[in-house]
């Protein structure tokens, strides 16, 4: 366990960036987003939700998966084996860190996605514990402790004036060991401060909804008339899915240029009408109703059914805040009978 005064963070960034490409949350224009650190950039450690979740580092919005060329014969280049630059991701919030574990279930389960695995393994995730919740935070509903991030390689706990670093994996320990010159040894007093901060944070956070037994309840919810009314407000944009740290659907596109080309994988959203559009013209989800239902059923029923009961939601609240028409998962969970406290 080591620590650093918040006033000395520039030194830390300097040091970390020597160990790999350092990315951290930065405020620019109207939003906070994860960007690569440079000399003149200062991190925003107050904002909870970066506009895009850090899933983009393992699962980029657009990536080339294959290159091909026809000369006399077809030549293929598998570019996934090239993925994975040494990266340090600082400031990942516990909810987003928890989302990595969910994403791992998809991309590191069989068949393993090679590019994802390489990126995941070459990245050190430094989580940053939360102190004060945003009004839209509901991580507690999914048993995510706002002060802890067990899946991260390192946890940076905010004790007010200092950040205390706790290694949680061998990758984390390795990195921590390299930061000796910059970080100070933490004391047992610091350990207590961390515990206190985590406790206080936990008290400030509200669960908002309960998802207990929700997946089971939804087994028979597919044909509910609830969906007939819910979807009407949806404008079929991709805000909720693209901003969601756990949404992970993609589309494969060919980019042909004469006798050569690339195959590209890019994010896709189940809210888009063409998401399930088939070449022959048939669309198994013909209206927005089916699409909206798919999104919530996937998060709250299909995913937990496939992955040991874990919901595909971490309560980050991005969709609650950003959905242009306020059609958010809080409302859906509550309507399905999962309410404990609204405000």
């Amino acid at each position: 366990m080591k620590k650093i005064a918040k006033t000395k963070l520039q030194e830390l960034w300097q040091r970390l960036s020597a160990e790999g490409a350092l990315h951290l949350p930065v405020r620019s224009d109207r939003v906070v987003e994860f960007v690569r650190w440079q000399e003149d950039v200062s991190a925003d450690l107050d904002a909870l939700n970066a506009f895009l979740p850090p899933k983009k580092y393992f699962y980029p919005q657009t990536e080339t998966v294959l290159k091909y060329q026809f000369e006399d014969t077809l030549q293929l280049t598998d570019v996934s084996s090239l993925a994975g630059e040494k990266t340090i991701l600082f400031g990942v919030r516990p909810c987003d860190a928890a989302a990595f574990s969910l994403m791992d279930k998809v991309y590191l389960g069989e068949p393993v996605d090679e590019a994802y695995r390489r990126r995941r393994e070459s990245t050190v995730v430094i989580a940053l514990g939360c102190l004060e919740p945003e009004e839209t935070c509901f991580c507690l509903a999914f048993d995510i402790d706002p002060g802890k991030a067990p899946g991260a390689d390192l946890l940076a706990a905010d004790t007010g004036t200092e950040l205390v670093f706790i290694a949680q994996s061998s990758k984390g320990e390795e990195l921590l060991a390299k930061l000796n010159g910059v970080l100070q040894e933490a004391t047992s007093g610091d350990e207590n401060k961390v515990k206190d901060a985590q406790e206080r944070a936990r008290e400030k956070y509200v669960t908002r909804v309960s998802v207990h037994g929700l997946a089971e309840k939804l087994d028979t919810f597919f044909d509910s008339v609830y969906w007939d009314r819910l979807y009407r407000r949806c404008i079929a944009c991709g805000t909720c899915t693209y901003l969601c740290p756990t949404c992970h659907c993609f589309d494969l596109q060919e980019y042909a240029a004469g006798r050569s080309g690339e195959r590209i994988r890019c994010w896709d959203a189940c809210m888009f009408p063409d998401f399930t559009q088939m070449a022959g013209g048939h669309n198994p989800r013909p209206t927005q109703k089916e699409r909206v239902r798919q999104r919530f059923m996937h998060k709250l029923n299909y995913f937990p059914r496939q992955h040991g009961g874990e919901y595909a939601c971490v309560g980050c609240g991005r969709c609650v805040r950003q959905c242009p028409v306020h059609l958010d998962i809080l409302e859906v969970i509550r309507e399905m009978g999962g309410a404990v406290d609204g405000r």
């Binding site: 657009t62 009407r232 693209y242 306020h326 405000r343």
Partner: protein
């Protein structure tokens, strides 16, 4: 605002009870103080949930595209900006005037939750309500009064038509146009336009670098009312799915071009953009050019005429070297 709510509830209830309409589009309150999404009200009883508060900002007009197909006649509450959206749909032949019963709501501006949050600790805010010229901010530990004008959405500060331009009934007195609107309207555009070309490029690519192609800007826009958008078509693929700057520029240029002369400045594209891209600046730049080259034109005012890019004059000047 309670009298306003009374008026909209009774108007909606009456129209539904009398069978003049079978659906009314308005707004209702949701969990958070800043959430007033569009409500679909189908009975007089449901009309009780309707509300018009400082956050009833979303334009309900876009929903008419589908609603008008399923209902004989739809009631709709519109602010000034929303009402121009109705004219947009009328001009685009996407709606017939007799398909809608329009309740006009003169609007002195909607409130920006971001500005409220900047002034008050968000978790403590319980309600923000209008009280004359002031906003009453009710907090978990007390309440405060602030000047509404300081907390308005940016788009409302440049609104030239706060009063509905098309309606069957106006629910209350007209409100004055904010002073200084015309000076503000193109201020952001002009400041960018005055930069050097490389700076402009840097500025826009920085903005667009955040575009995640969620299409919220398109989908919320009443001017984007095609049955099938070209961006969604596979052959030819007008827009690559890859999210790189080239295709993001392609998307943004084409989107702006398709609403050129048709954008009625509701500013919803910019307001709801999750990436905070100043889209209204681009739209307004096109409006400036249309005014300059083809004569002053405001969309969404006269549904009977042709939009500027649907017509021409022989003596039009060209925005390029015609030699």
């Amino acid at each position: 605002m309670s009298t306003a709510n009374g008026k909209i509830r009774s108007s909606a209830a009456e129209a539904l009870a009398e069978g003049r309409v079978t659906l009314v589009l308005g707004w209702r309150k949701k969990d958070f103080w800043w959430q007033s999404p569009v409500a679909f009200v189908e009975s007089a009883a449901e009309a009780e949930q309707l509300t018009f508060d400082p956050f009833s900002v979303y334009n309900p007009v876009k929903y008419l595209l589908e609603a008008a197909g399923c209902h004989e006649k739809v009631g709709v509450f519109v602010k000034g900006c929303d009402s121009r959206g109705i004219n947009r749909l009328l001009q685009d032949k996407r709606l017939e005037r007799e398909q809608v019963l329009i309740f006009g709501l003169p609007c002195s501006g909607m409130v920006d939750p971001v500005k409220i949050r900047a002034a008050f600790p968000a978790p403590k805010i319980c309600e923000v309500a209008r009280d004359g010229e002031e906003l009453l901010v009710r907090l978990s530990d007390g309440q405060e009064r602030v000047q509404t004008a300081d907390f308005l959405l940016e788009k409302c500060l440049t609104c030239r038509h706060p009063n509905p331009v098309v309606y069957d009934r106006l629910l209350w007195e007209r409100v004055p146009v904010r002073s200084g609107v015309d000076a503000l309207r193109f201020a952001r555009v002009s400041s960018v336009a005055q930069q050097q070309i490389q700076e402009r490029y840097a500025y826009w690519t920085r903005q667009f670098s955040r575009c995640i192609r969620c299409f919220a800007c398109r989908n919320t826009c009443p001017a984007c009312n095609c049955r099938s958008c070209i961006f969604d078509q596979a052959e030819p693929r007008w827009l690559g799915k890859a999210s790189d700057m080239s295709d993001t520029l392609n998307y943004q240029i084409t989107r702006a071009f398709h609403v050129a002369g048709r954008c009625f400045e509701c500013g919803e594209c910019e307001r709801i953009c999750p990436a905070g891209i100043p889209l209204q600046e681009l739209n307004r730049r096109l409006i400036m050019d249309i005014d300059k080259y083809f004569g002053p034109y405001e969309a969404g005012l006269a549904p009977g005429d042709l939009p500027p890019l649907g017509t021409y004059r022989g003596e039009d000047p060209a925005g390029f070297d015609e030699s």
